[in-house]
Symmetry: C2
Amino acid sequence: MPPVHALILAGGAGTRFWPASRAGRPKQLLPLLGGDALVLETARRVLPLTGGWERVLIGSGRHLAAPTAALLDELPAQNLLVEPVPRNTAPCIAWAAARVARLDPDAVVMVLPSDHHIVDLPRFREALELAVATAATGVITTIGIRPTHPETGYGYIEIDAEAAPHAPGALAVRRFVEKPDRARAEQFLASGNFLWNAGMFFFRARDMMAALRAHLPALADGVEALAAAEGTEAEGEALDRIFPALPAVSIDVGVMERIDRLAVIPGDFGWSDLGSWHSAWELAAKDAQGNAAPGGTVLVDARNNQVVDLRTAATAKRVMALVGVDDLVVVETDDAILVVPRSRAQDVKLVVEALRARGDGALT
Amino acid sequence: MPPVHALILAGGAGTRFWPASRAGRPKQLLPLLGGDALVLETARRVLPLTGGWERVLIGSGRHLAAPTAALLDELPAQNLLVEPVPRNTAPCIAWAAARVARLDPDAVVMVLPSDHHIVDLPRFREALELAVATAATGVITTIGIRPTHPETGYGYIEIDAEAAPHAPGALAVRRFVEKPDRARAEQFLASGNFLWNAGMFFFRARDMMAALRAHLPALADGVEALAAAEGTEAEGEALDRIFPALPAVSIDVGVMERIDRLAVIPGDFGWSDLGSWHSAWELAAKDAQGNAAPGGTVLVDARNNQVVDLRTAATAKRVMALVGVDDLVVVETDDAILVVPRSRAQDVKLVVEALRARGDGALT
């Protein structure tokens, strides 16, 4: 296996886990499933492939750099790629590719989101290894998740069933498809030829640079200049000058949808994008009544509820009591309480909008 | 009108307003409807009849004396009747009757619960005045609430429709009836001859002492000894020795159900015993969506909810957000949060039981 670098994209924002997630403390920095912060759990999953933290890169944003670095205390400081401004995914991925290309153009870079959950770690590692091996042959590779239901919230990857696999288990991609409506999602599920796009990409550094040179030449120029400045006195100035001018485009649209040869590894390892409190409840440990709640919660005739206590300043003993309620999410932080039916978990973003509209953006 | 004394019974405990109410902070000491503590609002309602605080007596318990006195800062200290142990209502009422009888046996004592709500104050005062005037003629008198629905949670008073009124508007009582089942409650409502027993009683001090002498002579002896010791060095010792030995009986069972002549004034002034969070919501000011919630609460597609914030140590700005929920009660205190559908408000007592069973009685 070639040297493997990992880029974990951890610069994203989001409102669907309010009040746990905030502008300065987004989902990937939270221990949403009760263990460690999601970004740390993601990094731990790939360390066996990278051989340690030296080859782990973390894509972050300026306002997230300090809390992210604090969570990842073994990460070398220069491995935190701090975007001065958000520019979607292609610039950060290109930046990582350019940095690795200067060291070792044949090394494989794997790009992973920082805020997903994986249930079956051995099968996940198998998929990663197959994707790395495929990428090492010179084919940009992705992992697609076998769909379990006609989800309309994800993009899809269509397999080219007639083309020969790029490697055993590494199928040819026909196309990327944007989020479908319900009817198309059902067709996709029925056809068996569509996988969910989970934002995981694998490529040799040289192959990504070549693809950028072909399809996004301005981006290729920019990140090569950034990589050249790395470790010099000009680095900070170059970043502030170059990065904001890079094209703000997703890697899907900017590269993946445009290249001819693309391999996909079907993944079947228990995956969740943790899109809302609903999915957090699905993955949480639950009691016999289906409640996921901290010990000490009083539950009287209450079923399938989720109670999340993220207070940091627990000065007094505090008890949460749920009586006669089902399918609720109740989240408590130091400065907010949220009560929402699990089926309405997507609407938490409306609270964030309401708070911002009334001048309480500090609570978001 | 004769001199009027008021005894407000404020020694009760209860669990149905947990987590607002606690063993040391029962319902009557809380501003449940957003104004002042219920006991203070009750006292204010009767001051025009008593002519000031000098003739207001407050029945309390040992563990409630200090917070009650703190709430009623104009109450003379000796007017707080502190029961060493709970002995139901008859001993406290008898104690008050004996005290007033030593001063002025023809004075009228009105006995009122401390934790009810009255909507129409002018009509309430009219009923009080009629009851006082009737009691002044030598007939023990009560006020009965005209029922609005077949309530099974209250006792009833049956009017003797064939007997002549004791005074204009003061009807003769046939009997007191314990809480009925649903079918009987519906019969009571249909008959038009039944009123709710709201625990309001009016009598000349001499008449109550005579009734006690006839039906509860040990109680009459005991409270006369207590009254004789009032203001002497022996007062405290007498209270601790005599009070715990008094018969623990309600005034309804011990006196009202046993005497022959009893008048009742039908009351129709908007009354609530504030029996649960449900009734607190019914009486609360609500927005156009039926929500009773503090300003600042974020309500997204939420209807007919009640949010109660009784925190005292609001160190940080705190926001409560309800999304897509209807008919919920959410109560927050410094050390507890309760979430319960309004229709299940009676079951809050189960939380208190659960906390006590697991050794968390300090939270109740």
